[in-house]
């Protein structure tokens, strides 16, 4: 009865996956258009001068094709609707596809068995203790059989899985060799469509060997482009381009401008830092926001109220948050000296861990290790507006004398700033998020705009090597301004050779 059919089904499924049935693959055709037109379209002119080469500056596995559009595209009969790109594919690829399919089926079947076994065992326990009576006997026997059968099949399938994986690996290594048998033992298969008017197409596969559309490197590929009219049966093929091999490059030439910029900037930083170490005195203009930090901490001490430091909604991977760490370190040192209460609610666990480490060592530096207790820096939650609700509540209950918002902020910046103003605190903010700067500038007493957040740690620390790195930044800015001016003049004189130097490819 029902259980018998279940066993039968299981056995058939095992048999089916073991044989690894083949199923044919037909070329995916373009939009099926049953030709319901009166006048017949003449075959269009073919695509001219088809060229194919390995796409450069990439991780390989892709070939770029370029051609001149057919004379019947946009002119002449104007009948060309799209171009279909064909690649010569050896039949060997079908066997590889067959291996992939049976591998997928085996994996699916193993997963099903692994899910089925614990449930069946549980049901078996239930039936053993459970209600006696008709049909009880064979249902226990049924479960014992199926569990035994499944446990017998499972290792068999696991070995098959291992064997199929080895087969797949060998088949993939044989792809380049299989492509050498061109033009025998293979056929033209459509790999893509380009719209009329387009003159290039990138035939890109993926680098993962496990996936279906993996395109092997170092294999000879041949391409053909058909100009196709509205009626897909009327088309004309171009001559064949190839053999072409795809491979990965080791240097992305499109990113040379960035490479030069990084090298120059690193050199500037190292140069000025070493110059600063040898004691060169570096002038740095005063920053209102930074001076406010010192007297804000003083104010908090007189009023005996705590200081709230918010590191923002960035993770420790955001550079804005890392800059905020260094500011927190210096603020915590001063707070420890003045013995004021510090509150640091955190949004991200890693940021909390690093902040705890910083505040603890700041208290050590100030010679007050015992004042430090674990809960100065605490975790709230990782959802934006729940975090804001909690910090708002803390502000109104602790009424801090000074709020500092340093780091990466999003839409909640104005909520924090307005609540802080409601609580009557002096507020100093600093963020690199351009969209939030208007709100901080309006609602806070002092705001460090964009780059000033990154300069703050150098200002607060006053160490010469940090001021040296600041000088490097200024020189880089000067370079950017000069280049922008030269570029502007060059563009307007149509001397594009200069501006092309600065194009950053993908």
């Amino acid at each position: 009865m029902k259980c018998r059919s279940l066993i039968a089904f299981l056995l058939v499924l095992c048999a089916f996956t073991l044989t690894g049935a083949q199923e044919g693959i037909g070329p995916p055709d373009s939009i099926s258009a049953d030709s319901t037109r009166g006048d017949s379209i003449l075959p269009p002119a073919p695509v001219g001068n088809l060229k194919a080469w390995d796409t450069d500056d990439d991780h390989g596995h892709s070939v770029t094709l370029e051609w001149e559009i057919s004379s019947d595209d946009g002119a002449g009969q104007n009948s060309v609707l799209s171009y279909e790109i064909f690649r010569w594919t050896p039949f060997f690829m079908d066997t590889l596809k067959g291996i992939r399919n049976s591998l997928a089926q085996t994996e699916a079947y193993i997963a099903e068995l692994q899910a089925f076994l614990p449930r069946a065992k549980k049901r078996l326990k239930v039936h053993r203790k459970g209600e006696p009576g008709v049909g009880f006997a064979d249902s226990v026997a049924f479960y014992v059989d199926t569990i035994a059968a499944s446990e017998r099949w499972l290792p068999l399938h696991k070995d098959r899985l291992g064997q199929l994986r080895r087969e797949r690996a060998q088949a993939i290594d044989m792809i380049p060799q299989a492509h050498k048998s061109y033009p025998e033992q293979g056929e033209w298969r459509k790999v893509g469509t380009a719209l009329s008017g387009q003159t290039s197409y990138v035939d890109a596969g993926v680098k993962e060997k496990v996936s279906g559309d993996y395109l092997a490197d170092h294999a000879d590929y041949y391409y053909r482009v058909d100009a196709v009219t509205a009626d897909s049966t009327i088309r004309t093929s171009s001559e064949i381009a190839g053999p072409v091999q795809s491979y990965g490059q080791f240097f992305n030439t499109g990113r040379i401008p960035v490479f030069v910029a990084v090298i120059v900037f690193t050199f500037l930083t190292v140069f000025f830092v070493t110059k600063a170490r040898r004691g060169a005195d570096l002038y740095v203009r005063p920053l209102a926001g930074i001076e406010a930090v010192d007297d804000a901490i003083g104010r908090a001490t007189e009023m005996g109220k705590p200081i709230l430091y918010v590191l923002g909604l960035g993770t420790a991977a955001d550079i804005g948050t890392i800059a905020s760490f260094t500011i927190l370190g210096r603020v915590a040192k001063r707070v420890a000296e003045y013995q004021t209460k510090l509150i640091v609610p955190c949004y991200d666990p890693i940021v909390m861990t690093v902040a705890q480490e910083i505040v603890k060592s700041a208290y050590l530096d100030a010679g007050r290790p015992d004042d430090y207790y674990e809960d100065i820096v605490y975790f709230v939650t990782q959802s934006q507006f729940a975090y804001v609700a909690a910090v708002n509540g803390t502000m109104l209950r602790e009424l801090p004398a000074t709020n500092m918002y340093m780091g990466v902020f999003f839409a909640e910046s104005l909520i924090l700033a307005e609540t802080g103003a409601l609580a009557g605190s002096i507020q100093i903010a600093g963020t690199d998020q351009v969209a939030q700067l208007p709100f901080f500038i309006v609602a806070c007493d002092y705001t460090l705009i964009g780059e000033e957040l990154y300069a703050a740690s150098a200002y607060l620390g006053r160490e010469p090597i940090l001021l040296g790195s600041l000088k490097a930044q200024d020189y880089a800015k000067a370079a950017v301004m000069v280049l922008a001016l030269l570029g502007l003049i060059a563009v307007n004189l149509d001397w594009t050779a200069f501006t092309d130097l600065f194009v950053v490819a993908k």
């Binding site: 899910a115 990084v262 930083t269 830092v273 890392i322 910083i358 674990e374 500038i441 740690s457 940090l466």
Partner: protein, 219 residues
């Protein structure tokens, strides 16, 4: 050992990631994806530290019996209920704990807590911005000096762009508003983004080259 090796790790991995950007080859991509998984997994493990800190702070508040000590109980209750619902699922006739498969996500109580507790409160906190933008504008838009008055005038012009009661100067205000949004706004963004870009690279280099060590703490 406690500080030298971490600084060396930062230097090695930092330099590698800088050069990895310029090498599109497959091998560098595999390592890049693998390292990103590291960051992600380390972040998830650290969540345990965060939850532990939340629990410890809440328990401390409850023990201290200060005013409002009842509320942290609600926090802990919400936390444990949500975790409980997240791991219990209903499958073939019985409720049970499912850790490896995601039945918990379709647990009705889990969905209800999300749809009827988290969503209303979070979108209402977001909606508070409508009020705070009004009170911030009232409180802080004062023409104290030239900079503040430029800020004020630009905001007023843009806020009046679709106001119908302006008569003949309506179109003029609308054109000025779209000009302000397209020209000075773009210049400001460009200056700040270039500055921030240089600042970010400088800060990252300071960390990789070991100039800035504060984040590692002492001792």
């Amino acid at each position: 050992m406690r500080r030298q090796i971490p600084l060396m790790l930062v230097f090695i991995f930092g330099i590698f990631m800088i050069f990895q950007y310029f090498v599109p080859h497959e091998s560098s991509e595999w390592i890049y994806e693998f390292l990103l998984d590291w960051i992600y997994i380390i972040g998830i493990f650290a969540l345990a530290l965060g939850i532990w800190s939340l629990i410890r702070v809440s328990v401390a508040k409850i023990k201290a019996h200060k005013s409002g000590w009842g509320y942290p109980i609600i926090t802990l209750a919400g936390l444990f209920l949500m975790i409980l619902f997240g791991f219990t699922g209903y499958r073939d006739g019985s409720w049970g704990f499912y850790f490896m498969t995601a039945e918990g996500l379709s647990n009705p109580m889990f969905r209800h807590f999300f749809d009827y507790i988290m969503i209303p409160i979070q979108s209402t906190m977001f909606a508070l911005l409508a009020f705070f933008i009004a009170s911030a504008a009232y409180r802080a838009f004062r023409a104290r000096n030239i900079m503040a008055s430029l800020l004020l005038v630009a905001a007023l012009v843009v806020m009046l762009r679709f106001n119908p009661y302006l008569g003949p100067i309506g179109p003029v205000i609308a054109d000025t508003a779209s000009w302000l949004l397209n020209v000075p706004n773009l210049a400001a963004k460009r200056a700040i983004i270039i500055g921030v870009g240089l600042g970010m690279v400088a800060t990252s280099l300071k960390i990789i080259l070991g100039i800035e060590r504060g984040y590692l703490g002492k001792g």
